[in-house]
């Protein structure tokens, strides 16, 4: 099966401090990989490189078959990015936000408007579609942000801590949406601090710490390998935060 994301030996330093020291990972098409790790482990740096926001110092990476350094525009056309900061424009309505993203994805005015309507329905935002996004609750903003990343039917989706700060009900709703997307063939790279999230959504888990991959496998394999019953405990054992 073709890989949706493949990274080999990614290295990146910030002013002499190594953030990534050779990260390899692979996301087979149509699967979900969870990137787990404590703050500062290198999760965000990895995502920034794979989404063309940051150039690696070494190593190489392909997303949807395109090189992130040499073909950034092709990569950008194939990816959707949603994250914990929900970068929607609070001074536009939900609908206007989605149309803006559609237009910047080269959709015609009509196609962008139609797509916005579909996504607003799907994410249960139709009732609030013409309200300014800054009046939205945290959960609504996050859904709008996720909707914006889906405007162009991106085959590869990056979700950077998508449920951080959401209450359990909203988190559950978002998980359902992601599961639907995956069932429809979308490949997902997910970063998270919630092990339960990785357990629920991910086919495979990569644990990073201090800029290196310290473990990888299915959630079950990681639990088995560390002899722990929960992924939480396995994670702590792997990253050496606690025994």
């Amino acid at each position: 099966m073709r890989a949706a994301i493949r990274a080999e030996g990614l290295r990146k330093g910030y002013q002499g401090v190594a953030a990534l020291r050779g990260v390899d990972l692979e996301v087979p098409a149509g699967s979900v990989l969870a990137l787990l790790g404590p703050n500062g482990a290198g999760k965000s740096t990895t995502v920034k490189i794979l989404t063309t926001l940051l150039a690696p110092d070494g190593g190489r990476a392909e997303v949807a078959g395109f090189d992130v350094v040499r073909q950034p525009r092709r990569v950008r056309a194939a990816i959707g990015v949603a994250g914990q900061y929900a970068a929607v424009d609070g001074r536009l309505t939900g609908r206007e936000n989605l149309v803006l993203f559609g237009r910047l994805h080269r959709l015609s005015r009509g196609a962008a408007a139609r797509r916005a309507g579909e996504l607003l329905d799907r994410f249960d935002l139709a009732g609030a579609a013409d309200r300014l996004a800054r009046t939205y609750s945290g959960g609504m903003r996050r859904r709008l942000d996720l909707a914006a990343s889906l405007v162009a039917h991106a085959p590869v989706l990056f979700l950077d801590e998508p449920t951080t700060g959401l209450d359990p009900l909203r988190r559950e709703q978002l998980w359902t949406v992601v599961a639907e997307l995956v069932a429809a063939g979308t490949s997902v790279l997910l970063t998270t601090q919630y092990l339960e999230e990785a357990d629920r959504l991910a086919d495979r888990v990569v644990v990073v710490d201090h800029g290196r991959v310290v473990a990888e496998g299915t959630a079950e394999q990681l639990k088995h390998r560390t002899g722990r019953s929960s992924l939480d405990a396995a994670f702590l054992a792997l990253t050496g935060v606690a025994a």
């Binding site: 926001l53 940051l54 525009r73 970068a87 536009l92 237009r103 300014l132 914006a148």
Partner: protein, 259 residues
């Protein structure tokens, strides 16, 4: 993608993003109204307060002042661009845009285009206010339209300069402080409010040879129907020079901070 396609998409993206800025103002009409009311108030106050005290040889003070305040206000409004750029940068909006298959400079070009639209609106409102307090434009409508175009074009060049400053600043407030530092000396050490000849000897050459004075003198000459070719050429040269400097600087800086 061919060069022509790239250019076409850059222009399309620029208009989409200019539309975004225009929507922001439509959502806050009070903001546009207030930021237009201020310059209008300036025109009314300056003509009434300074009108009796400042001697402008061979010219009524209102005819002297309005072109000066037009350009001053446009320069001031351009400084606000720095704030918007810095705020966009501080939020994750720009980072999100950079993950889209869009033209990177369009983020900046869209904003500066929208700001030029706002400047045009403000300039027209000030001209209307000036007419109320007795402004005369013997140069005729065509020359006056030329003066407006020149003012807006100069403002457009300045917004690129302030875009660059906004990209360098840490946050909106720092950007505003830096903007004021640049724009205040230019605004007041110019021929906007008083003739340069009345300034102290050390300041005169500086005030006479700076971009605002060049543009103000050109606008004044156009509106009064005086020979303006030399002044207009000088104003256009400043405008072109600022664009030639600021656009590449801003675009390069944008690529640095957003990747």
């Amino acid at each position: 993608m061919s060069t022509v396609d790239t250019l076409r998409w850059s222009v399309a993206d620029t208009f989409v993003l200019a539309g975004r800025s225009l929507r922001h103002w439509r959502r806050q009409p009070e903001l546009l109204l207030l930021s237009t009311a201020q310059p209008v108030l300036l025109v009314l106050l300056f003509t009434q307060v300074f009108g009796g005290a400042v001697a402008t040889p061979g010219m009524r003070y209102v005819d002297w002042l309005v072109p000066g305040v037009l350009v001053q206000v446009v320069a001031w409004d351009s400084a606000k661009t720095a704030v918007g750029v810095a705020e966009d940068l501080a939020s994750s909006t720009i980072e999100r845009f950079r993950t889209l298959p869009m033209s990177a400079p369009a983020v900046l070009a869209g904003r500066t285009l929208a700001d030029a639209g706002r400047n045009l609106f403000v300039v027209l409102a000030m001209l209307a206010a000036g007419t109320l307090v007795g402004l005369r434009t013997p140069g005729g409508p065509l020359a006056t339209a030329g003066a407006v175009a020149l003012t807006v074009a100069f403002g457009y060049a300045l917004t690129w300069l302030f875009t660059y400053l906004g990209l360098r600043a840490r946050g909106g407030e720092a950007a505003l402080a830096a903007g004021i530092l640049v724009v205040f000396p230019l605004m007041f050490a110019s021929s906007a409010l008083v003739p340069v000849e009345t300034m102290p000897a050390w300041l005169r050459p500086l005030a006479a040879h700076q971009p605002l004075t060049a543009v103000i003198d050109a606008v004044r000459a156009l509106m009064r129907g005086e020979p303006a070719a030399g002044a207009v050429a000088s104003a256009l040269a400043w405008t072109a020079a600022i664009l030639a400097l600021a656009v590449p600087l801003a675009v390069r800086r944008f690529r640095q901070v957003s990747t």
